[in-house]
């Protein structure tokens, strides 16, 4: 009964979305206030229907209803409750329902928070969002029905991939999807602007918070995924340039460019066409990511299904939305006349440079990600593009990007001179140089990490210099505190996010100095790495809720003093007959001690020991970046949205 209710709710959501799309587009075209007014309640209705469907699916997973095909294939009664619930989106069908639920949430948010929007704009935005929802609801109902029944019901389910049985599953997909799908709102605003043929400061003020929110969630989602891979896969690495990772990095890069160019639209009414283009691009890359991950083109832990019909359907949706968006762009973009003018050397100029570099990086990553697929399809060659390609191709673009990142915020708008800006940053430059030399002196010929430390110092000190300059910390220190309080939160947010990238660079540079060793140890023997001694005490059997494991006890000492006892495990799951490696990690914040248990032989065990300097700062830096986005989002200017625009068009809509 419950699954049928969920299925009905999905179909209802499809009908409501269809009505929302038609009413919105037609009503806005005909300036029909009653039709336009219907879109917001319809968006709330879609949200309720999708929420019901999602709740029904979750219920089926929670009670392990083995008459539902998705549950049979992806769940098991012996799983802990947390993984039964999170398992709702740990499979193809459920993750698509989550995707649509978040899309409906975005629609509901535009309907709820967007009352101050000009009503034609709101109606069109909601209509475009509904069009996207229609496509994906049709996809779910047509090719991947989560509520499909099986008869007779099997005794129990087939279990969830053990790698996914982790608390990370509770947060990583929802956060990532909030990011992916959040760009659907900026996409909808861009389409609406193209239909109306106008982009103004008010539009920029509306788009920017959505871009910021989506970008912040995406940052968190990617960082969480990277952290998860770091501790779960047991390879000691944090980023593998896997196509699935790249698929999430691409919209992140485009979104990062978008939120910067939206600043220019809002403040200076320039770069309008470009911003609209970026909004289309960011969502297009989000859809591409969904296609790559969900279609089964790539084989990875993320690809749950390999059904060609699904891949073709998502490819079709991708072409309709992205192709349609860019066709509209080609047709209407010329209608948007730029007004603000600026010199090449100005804050606008720096933001253009930022956009250019971010888009170039995205282009390189896109080529590296898609080339193997095209080579396979067209040239029939099996090729893979690995980390060396991405490292050597993106590094020359990242260096100027970071160089400009500290410089951009201290340049004035419109027209700037380089020398005064550089004067404000001289001590940041000095700090970067000191970090570079210090690293070279301590660690020898390690150019990569030395550059990383220099970048970290440049970014963090640059952000501090920017804030110190704005509150006149050195010239008039007495009033600095009051001025700090009066500084707009967007300025704080920007500086914090830039410093967050600096913190992340610190971690990346530290990981460049990581060392590891392999050792076959008998109980009682020890191996040393980077000043720590790892003694294998014993290897025993332990039992988990739905697995059995071999657990090694490793005592770590430093100069004879005990530091920590680590217990890496190898777990075997009888359901699905899989083995996973649980790395044991101890962090001192200066470094991670990371031990993996390999196979056992001759009475001993193989241990892989990693010493990862500054590793936690990578994800901590990403969290700071997202925090910066959040602080920027709480800026008063963004909360009090566009009253002028409402007044200007009030009489038309009333």
């Amino acid at each position: 009964m419950i699954p049928e209710l969920g299925h009905f709710a999905l179909a209802l959501a499809l009908a409501l979305s269809l009505a929302q799309a038609v009413f919105g587009l037609w009503g806005a075209q005909r300036a029909e206030p009653r039709l336009m007014a219907a879109t917001a309640p319809l968006a709330i209705g879609t949200l309720i229907a999708t929420g019901t469907a999602f709740a029904c699916l979750m219920w089926s997973f929670a009670v392990n209803d083995t008459t539902v095909s998705a549950v049979v294939q992806n769940s098991h009664s012996a799983k802990p409750m947390l993984y039964k619930l999170t398992g709702t989106w740990g499979n193809h069908e459920g993750s698509m329902v989550l995707w649509v639920l978040i899309l409906a949430l975005c629609g509901g948010a535009v309907a709820g928070f967007g009352r101050k929007l000009p009503s034609t704009l709101q109606a069109r935005v909601l209509a475009v969002l509904a069009l996207v929802a229609v496509g994906f609801l049709a996809f779910i109902l047509g090719t991947s029905d989560p509520f499909l029944r099986v008869w007779p019901p099997p005794m129990d389910g087939q279990g969830l991939n053990p790698i996914l049985q982790d608390p990370g599953l509770a947060f990583h997909p929802p956060l990532l999807y909030l990011g992916y799908v959040g760009f659907s709102v900026t996409f909808a605003f861009a389409i609406a602007a193209l239909i109306e043929g106008r982009v103004d400061a008010a539009w920029g003020r509306w788009v920017r918070p959505w871009a910021l929110a989506a970008w912040s969630f995406l940052t968190l989602g990617i960082a969480l995924g990277s952290w998860w891979a770091y501790y779960e896969l047991g390879w000691g690495g944090y980023w593998f340039w896997d196509p699935v990772e790249n698929a999430s990095l691409l919209p992140w890069l485009a979104g990062c460019a978008l939120l910067h160019s939206a600043i220019v639209v809002e403040k200076r009414e320039a770069l309008k066409t470009w911003t609209v283009f970026l909004a289309l691009l960011a969502f297009g890359l989000s859809l591409l990511g969904t296609f790559l991950v969900r279609s089964g083109v790539l084989n990875s832990v993320h690809a749950f299904a390999n059904d060609p019909a699904r891949g073709v359907f998502i490819l079709f949706l991708l072409m309709v939305y992205v192709g349609g968006g860019f066709a509209l762009f080609a047709w209407r973009a010329a209608a948007m006349a730029p007004t603000g003018v600026f010199a090449p050397l100005s804050r606008e100029g720096a933001l253009v440079l930022n956009n250019l570099l971010l888009c170039s990086i995205a282009a390189v990553v896109l080529v590296g990600t898609l080339y193997p697929m095209f080579a396979d399809l067209i040239l029939k060659q099996k090729i893979s593009v690995g980390p060396p390609f991405f490292n050597s191709a993106t590094l020359p673009l990242v260096v100027p990007l970071i160089g400009a990142m500290a410089l951009g915020p201290v340049l004035p708008w419109k027209r700037a001179r380089l020398w005064p800006a550089l004067q404000r940053l001289w001590w940041a430059a000095l700090g970067a140089l000191a970090a570079l030399l210090l690293c070279l002196a301590l660690e020898g010929q390690q150019i990569g990490p030395a550059l990383g430390f220099a970048a970290a110092a440049w970014l963090i000190l640059g952000a501090v210099a920017d804030i110190a300059d704005r509150i006149a910390l050195f010239s008039r220190p007495r009033a600095a505190l009051a001025r700090a309080r009066g500084l707009p939160r967007a300025a704080w947010g920007g500086a914090i996010a830039h410093a967050g990238l600096g913190v992340m660079m610190l971690g990346l540079a530290g990981m460049g100095l990581a060392t590891d060793r392999l050792a076959l140890l008998q109980p009682g023997q020890s191996a040393s790495l980077a000043g720590y001694d790892y003694r294998l005490d014993s290897v025993q059997d332990v039992a988990g809720p739905n697995f059995s494991a071999r657990r090694a006890t490793v005592t770590v000492t430093r100069n004879g003093r005990d530091v920590v006892v680590l217990t890496p495990e190898r777990r075997s799951f009888p359901v699905g007959r899989m083995t996973t490696t649980e790395a044991a990690i101890h962090t001192t914040w200066l470094s991670d001690l990371y031990v993996v248990l390999g196979d056992e032989r001759d009475g001993g065990a193989v241990l892989r020991i990693h010493h990862n300097p500054l590793a936690p700062w990578i994800w901590f830096g990403a969290a700071i970046m997202a925090l910066g986005g959040g602080i920027s989002l709480s800026d008063r200017r963004i909360r009090v949205s566009a009253p002028a625009a409402k007044l200007a068009r009030g009489e038309v809509t009333a």
Binding site: K382, I383, F390, A519
Partner: protein, 178 residues
């Protein structure tokens, strides 16, 4: 600055960005593309000795030997086969959880002058029914397995099978490996 000139500048900048992205990609492609080779490919045409590539096939049953190098590092020796040819492989490190005899494997490394493949990475990281698409392709090309007829034959019998050309075996798309 007039609007036209500014637009020209912007277009120039975009061209510069795209151009530099293309140049960087191409130069990085030149050194860093990693090709996939099956054991039969290597037998036919030996790859350059200093160039890394990926070798894939089935781990031959009964071929895995685990040893310890003189400096105490664990080492594994095994043979990778596609039925027609076999390449010996050495790997120093922890083998992945799903590495088993008779299963598909993809390794990354370089071929030594003695004909032994020295792997720096061994990938076998999916569920036990998983067959890497490259390996499935290599098996099909060597004529040992028609994926339409079910699971691959046990690897132990492979070296004695007579290769038969797989007529019409490859379905369009060819990615039915998993």
């Amino acid at each position: 600055m007039s609007r036209k000139r500014r637009r020209l500048y912007l277009l120039l900048l975009c061209g510069l960005g795209l151009g530099s992205a293309t140049a960087l990609s191409l130069s990085a492609f030149q050194d860093n593309l990693v090709f996939f080779r099956s054991p039969s490919d290597i037998m036919q045409e030996a790859p350059a000795p200093d160039r890394a590539f990926r070798l894939g096939g089935l781990v031959e049953t009964g071929s895995v030997q685990r040893e310890t190098t003189p400096d105490g590092r664990p080492e594994a020796r095994f043979r990778v086969t596609d039925g027609a040819s076999t390449i010996p492989v050495t790997y120093t490190g922890v083998l992945p959880d799903l590495f088993r005899e008779g299963q598909g494997v993809v390794t990354l490394g370089k071929l030594g002058p003695d004909g032994v493949f020295r792997a720096t990475e061994v990938l076998a990281r999916h569920d036990e029914n998983y067959m890497p698409p490259e390996v499935a392709d290599a098996l099909k090309r060597s004529g040992h397995w028609n994926p339409d007829q079910g699971a691959p034959p046990p690897a132990s019998s492979w070296n004695t099978l007579t290769p038969t050309p797989a007529v019409g075996a490859a379905p369009p798309g060819g990615r039915s490996g998993s």
